[in-house]
Symmetry: D3
Subunit: 247 residues, 6 copies
Amino acid sequence: MPAVRIQVINPNTSLAMTETIGAAARAVAAPGTEILAVCPSAGVPSIEGHFDEAIAAVGVLEQIKAGRQQGVDGHVIACFGDPGLLAARELAQGPVVGIAEAAMHMATLVATRFSIVTTLPRTLIIARHLLHQYGFHDRCAALHAIDLPVLALEDGSGLAQEKVRARCIQALKEDGCGAIVLGCGGMADLAQELTRELRVPVIDGVSAAVKMVESLVALGLSTSKHGDLAFPEAKALSGQFQALNPF
Amino acid sequence: MPAVRIQVINPNTSLAMTETIGAAARAVAAPGTEILAVCPSAGVPSIEGHFDEAIAAVGVLEQIKAGRQQGVDGHVIACFGDPGLLAARELAQGPVVGIAEAAMHMATLVATRFSIVTTLPRTLIIARHLLHQYGFHDRCAALHAIDLPVLALEDGSGLAQEKVRARCIQALKEDGCGAIVLGCGGMADLAQELTRELRVPVIDGVSAAVKMVESLVALGLSTSKHGDLAFPEAKALSGQFQALNPF
Amino acid sequence: MPAVRIQVINPNTSLAMTETIGAAARAVAAPGTEILAVCPSAGVPSIEGHFDEAIAAVGVLEQIKAGRQQGVDGHVIACFGDPGLLAARELAQGPVVGIAEAAMHMATLVATRFSIVTTLPRTLIIARHLLHQYGFHDRCAALHAIDLPVLALEDGSGLAQEKVRARCIQALKEDGCGAIVLGCGGMADLAQELTRELRVPVIDGVSAAVKMVESLVALGLSTSKHGDLAFPEAKALSGQFQALNPF
Amino acid sequence: MPAVRIQVINPNTSLAMTETIGAAARAVAAPGTEILAVCPSAGVPSIEGHFDEAIAAVGVLEQIKAGRQQGVDGHVIACFGDPGLLAARELAQGPVVGIAEAAMHMATLVATRFSIVTTLPRTLIIARHLLHQYGFHDRCAALHAIDLPVLALEDGSGLAQEKVRARCIQALKEDGCGAIVLGCGGMADLAQELTRELRVPVIDGVSAAVKMVESLVALGLSTSKHGDLAFPEAKALSGQFQALNPF
Amino acid sequence: MPAVRIQVINPNTSLAMTETIGAAARAVAAPGTEILAVCPSAGVPSIEGHFDEAIAAVGVLEQIKAGRQQGVDGHVIACFGDPGLLAARELAQGPVVGIAEAAMHMATLVATRFSIVTTLPRTLIIARHLLHQYGFHDRCAALHAIDLPVLALEDGSGLAQEKVRARCIQALKEDGCGAIVLGCGGMADLAQELTRELRVPVIDGVSAAVKMVESLVALGLSTSKHGDLAFPEAKALSGQFQALNPF
Amino acid sequence: MPAVRIQVINPNTSLAMTETIGAAARAVAAPGTEILAVCPSAGVPSIEGHFDEAIAAVGVLEQIKAGRQQGVDGHVIACFGDPGLLAARELAQGPVVGIAEAAMHMATLVATRFSIVTTLPRTLIIARHLLHQYGFHDRCAALHAIDLPVLALEDGSGLAQEKVRARCIQALKEDGCGAIVLGCGGMADLAQELTRELRVPVIDGVSAAVKMVESLVALGLSTSKHGDLAFPEAKALSGQFQALNPF
C-alpha cells in the first residue's frame, strides 16, 4: 500500500490530456507516492479564458470532494490558471497546489527571472494576474503565446510542440531570462527534454506541483483551517450544486 | 418602453436579498432605466468565502446568458466579491460591472482614502485581493468585519444594521479615512441613511454599479471584444454546463 | 429648470476648445442635466507640461469658486492632467471629477488593459504619474504621443485627428490592449466615431467625467469633508489670490 | 563675491518663517555659498492643504523666474509638500530641490526606516503621496501630526516645538524607525538640537536641500532639459500670469 | 549508496546549532536522501545583523565549493537571512535554496497570509527585505521578535522556546494570519510540535528547504547557468580568498 | 589640517581603478575635504556578479574598520552594486554612502526618469535589485550593458569608453530618459565630459557619493545607531575574520 496518495486533477474534460498529465506526474513521483489522475465528468474540453475557468472550477471542487472522500493526502490542480485554487483549499483537508504557482515558485529558485510560454494569446492575461497575485510579477521577464489552442498539443502532429520549442529558444536569446515556465498542463511532457536540449531549467507545473504536495505532506503541513481558508460555512446548496455539499 | 434595461444579478439564491438589492437599484435608476433583479435558480443562499464564490460564479454566467437573450443593455454583479466578473465580461455583449469595483471606484472620487465594513472576517481576504487587483490597495485605510453572517442582514432584527453603523462611526474616528464602502450587497439599503447621519460618503456598491452601467451605456461603451475579453472560444460544454453554451 | 447642473471647466483659455469640450459634455448629458462649460479668464492657451498645469490650477480654483457660488451640483476638470484636482476637491461642496481619472476608471470596466494616445511626448510623464497615483499603472498597456501640440486639434486641418486615429489602430495591433483612452480634452469629439470605426471602446474623459458626476449626484455622494479634503483652513489670501478666498 | 548663490524659496508669505528658513539654510551653507531667502509677495500665509499648495505653486514659479534673472545657481522649495516642484524644474536653468524630497533622501542614507513628524493631520496625505511619488513608501515607518497649525511654530510660545519633541521621542520608542524627518519648513531650527538630544538623525529638509543643491552645482548637474523637464512651450500667458512668462 | 546527497550549510560556527539543523533536516529527508550538515570553520557564532551576514556569506561560499567538490546534488543555506544566496547560486552546479525563501514559499501554499516569529528585533529588517525581494510582502501579516539572541535557543533553558510558542499563539489571535513562519534556523526543532499543538502550519525553513532541494533534484532542475547566475567570471582571487577560487 | 576626511573604498583590488576613483573623488571634493582612496589588500580584481560582491563585502568591512580607527568622518563604497552597504553602516560610526544609491538619488533630482549604462550584462540584475531596494524602480527608463568587462575600462584602448558614449547617445534617443547614470566606479572619469558633450546630466556615483557624505557630515547626520543599524552584537569572530572584530 502506498504511503502517499496525490490526486492530480485535470480541470478540463480531455481524457488525452488527463493521461498526459497523469504520466508526467507519475514520472516524477517518489517511490512511495501513488498518483490518481482525474478530470471532471462534465465541463469544458479545454480551458482558454475566464469563462472556461469558471466552469472548470466547479469540476475541480467536485473532484476535491471525491478525493477527500477517498482519503487522498493532497491535490494538484493541473491547469495553468490554477482555477478554483482558493475554493479548493477551503474544501480540502490536505494541501492543494496549482501548477502555475508550483512552476513559478520553482523557477524563482533556479533563476533570477523566467519567461512563460503558453498557448493562446488570450490566456496571457490569466498568467499576468497570477504573477501579480503570487508576488512574482518582477520575476517574469516576458510572456509568450504560440497562438495555437490547448488541444493542438494533443493532435499528434507535433506542430504545437515545435512552436513551443522555438519560442523557448527565442525567449532565451531575447528576454534576459534564465529559465522557462511552460504555461499549460498539456505541455507537461516537454519539460525534461527541453531542459536537456536547451541546457536551462524548463519547468512544467504538473511535475513541480506533485513534488510540492509530496513535500508538504512529508512536512506534515496541510491547508490552514485557521481563518480565511477554513472549511466552507455550512449552508444548503441547491440544484446541480447539491452534490458539492462538503458535509 | 424603457430606454435602458439593466440586469442586476444577485449571485446568491436568497430571494429576500434579491429584493433588497433590486429595491436599492431601482431607487437610484434614471427615469428611463428598467431594473431586472434576478438570482440563480440554484447555488448558495449566501456568499461568504471562495467556495461559495466559485459556485455562485456559474449562476452568474447562467443569468448573464439569460440577460443577453432578453437583450438587456448591461449587467451588475451584486455581490461584494464580484464573483465571475471576468468570465461574465467574456460572455456578455454589453458592459458588466461588479459592486465591489463600482463602490471602490466611486469612493476614490470623493475621498483620498476609504475604509470597508463587511460581514464575516473570512470575507476580508476577498476584499483585500480585489483592492490589489483593482489597484486601490493604497486607497483603503482599513478593513472591518462585523462578525455576523450575510443573512443576518435579512433577519429583521436590525442587529447587523446596528453593528454596521457602529463600525462606520469607529472607522471614521480611527482610520483616517474620508468615506466608507459597505462590503456586502445586503447592506444596499443602509448607504443613503448612513451618508446623511454620518455626513460622509457611505457607499453601497449596488447603486454605484447601476449608475456605472447607465453611464457606460449612455457613452456607447461596451465590454471590449478585442483581445482577452472576447467571446469564449467555441467548444462543446458537457453535462450540467451545456445550458451555458454561449452560442 | 434642470435637475442637475454640472460645471465643466476647461483649464486652459482656448475658447474653441471650451466649445469642443462643452459640446462633448452636452452630447452625453442626461435629459435633466445642464452643462456649464467655462474656462478661466486668464492663464495658458493650452496645457502641455507641469508649468502650464500649475498656472491652470489657479484658474480651475477660480472657476470652482464661481461654480459653487452659482450653486452647481458638481464639477468636471477637463484637462487630461487633472490639474488642481485635490485642491478643487477641498474648495468644492459637490463632487469634482477629472477627465483623466474618469477615462481611466471607465477603461478598466470594459477592458483588462488600455492604451493612452495623447499629444506631445512631454505630456506622457503627467499621464504616467496619474496612472501611478490612481492605481492603474498595471492596467495601462502603453502610452503614445502623436507629437503635435494640443492646439493642432483645433486648427481645422484634421491632421491631428488623423494622427490620433492612426495611433489608435497601431496600438490595438501591437499593445495587447482592449481599449483606448484619449489623452486630451481636445479629443473629446473623436471618441464616439472611433469607437464605432475601430469596434473597441475609445474613451474620452470629458463625457466619462460628466457621467461620473451625474452618477455621484444621483447617489447623493459629495466630496468628503471629513479629513484631508475638508474646506481649506481659513486664512488671509493676499494679492491676486484674494479673489480665491473661499469664505 | 560668492562662488555659489542658492535661492531658498519659502512658498508661503510668512516673513517670520522665511527668516527661520533662511537662518537654517545659512547655518549649513558652505563657506562659498550665498543664501537668498525669499517668499512670494502674494499668496497664503501658511500651507496646510492642497488648496494652499496650488496657490503657493504660482508664487514659487514667480520666485524661480526672479532667481533665474538674478543668475542664481540653484533653488530650494522650502515647504514640506514640495509645491510646484516639477513646474519649477521646467522653468529653471539650474537644479531645484524640494525640502521633503531632500529630507527623505537623506533619511534613507542613515537609517533603514524613518518616521515623519508634521503639523496638522490634514497635511499627512500630502506627505503620504510624496512618499509614493519618490519611491520611499516602504522606508517610512509611520507618519505623525502634532495637530497644531504651521504658524504655531512661529508664535513664540514653544508649545509646538515641545509637541514635536515629544512626538519624536514616542516615534523612536514605538515605530521601529532609526531616524526622524521633520515635516515642515518651520521646524528647520529644531533638527540639530533634537539630533543631539535624541542621539538619532533628526532631519530638517531645508538644510538637507541646501546641501543637495550645493552638491549638484559642484558636480555640474543641472535640471535636464532633454525631454519632459524642458523649458515650458512658448505660449502667451494672459492676465495675472503674464509676469510668469519665461521668455 | 544514497541516491541524493544534500549539503545543509549552517552559516554560523555554532556546532550545537549545526546539529539541531542537521537533525531537523534528517527528520524530513526522503529515504534515499543523505544529509551533510556542515558549518564554516571560521566566521561568526551566530547571525544577528548585516555585518554578521556579510562574514557568514564567505563561509557559505567555502562550503558550497567544498560540497561541489564532494559531488553533492544540492545545497541548503540554513540561516533565515539566506546570506550569500545569489553568490552561492553562481558558484554552485546544483540547486541552492535558502531557508527563509523555502519557508515563505511553503507558507503561501497553505495560508493566504502568514506571520513571522524571529529572535532579536534588529533581524526584522532582514526578513522585511527578503519579503520584498521574494515578492511575499503582501502575504506577511506581521513580524515578531522574541527579543532574545539566537544562541538563547541553544542554552538548554527552554526559555526562548517558550517565548516562541507564546508569540505564535498571540500572532494567531491578533494578526489575521493562517500560518506561522519560524524566523531562525535554530528553531528548526520546534515546528512539528507547534504545528500539532496550535493546529495551524508552523513552518521551519530547514525542513522546507530540504524538501525543496529534493524536489528540484528529482525534477532535474538545477541553478540556471544561462545569464546572471552563470559561474563567476574567471579571475585571480587574492589573499585569504584564494581558497574560494571556483576553478 | 583638513576639516573633513572621507574614505573612498574601491571594493576591488585594482590599484588602477582605485586611482581613477580617487581622482574623481578629489576632483569634486570641497576645499576642506581630504579624500583617502583605498582598496582591500585581498579580494577580487573586479566585481561582476554576486560571488565577486560577497568577497568584496568583507574587504569593504576591513576598510571601514580601518577608516574608523583613523577617525575618518565618512565612507564611500565605490562599486556600483554597493556591496556590503548595510553591513558597513552597522560597523561605521559616520555616514556610509554607496555610489549606486548616490547616483540614483542625484538622477531623480534632475530628471523624471534616467537610464543606466553599465559593463557586463550579468551585472544588470544587481542594478535591477538595487532599483527595487532603493525605491527607484519606476524612475529607471532602461538598463544597458556595453558587454565589456570592468577592467576593459582600464586597458588604455578607449574602446570601453567609446562604447559607453555610444550607448548613452542611443539611450537618450530611445528610452525617454532625461539623465544617464554610469553603472560602474571605473567610469567615474567620464561623467563630466559626457555631461558637457551630450548636454544632459550624466552622473557618476563616485563624485555623487562624495558630495552626499560631505553633506551628511556638514549636517551632523551620521548612521543611526538606534535600531537595526546599531553596532554589531559583540561576539567572537574566528579565523581569518578575527581582524574584523569591531571592538
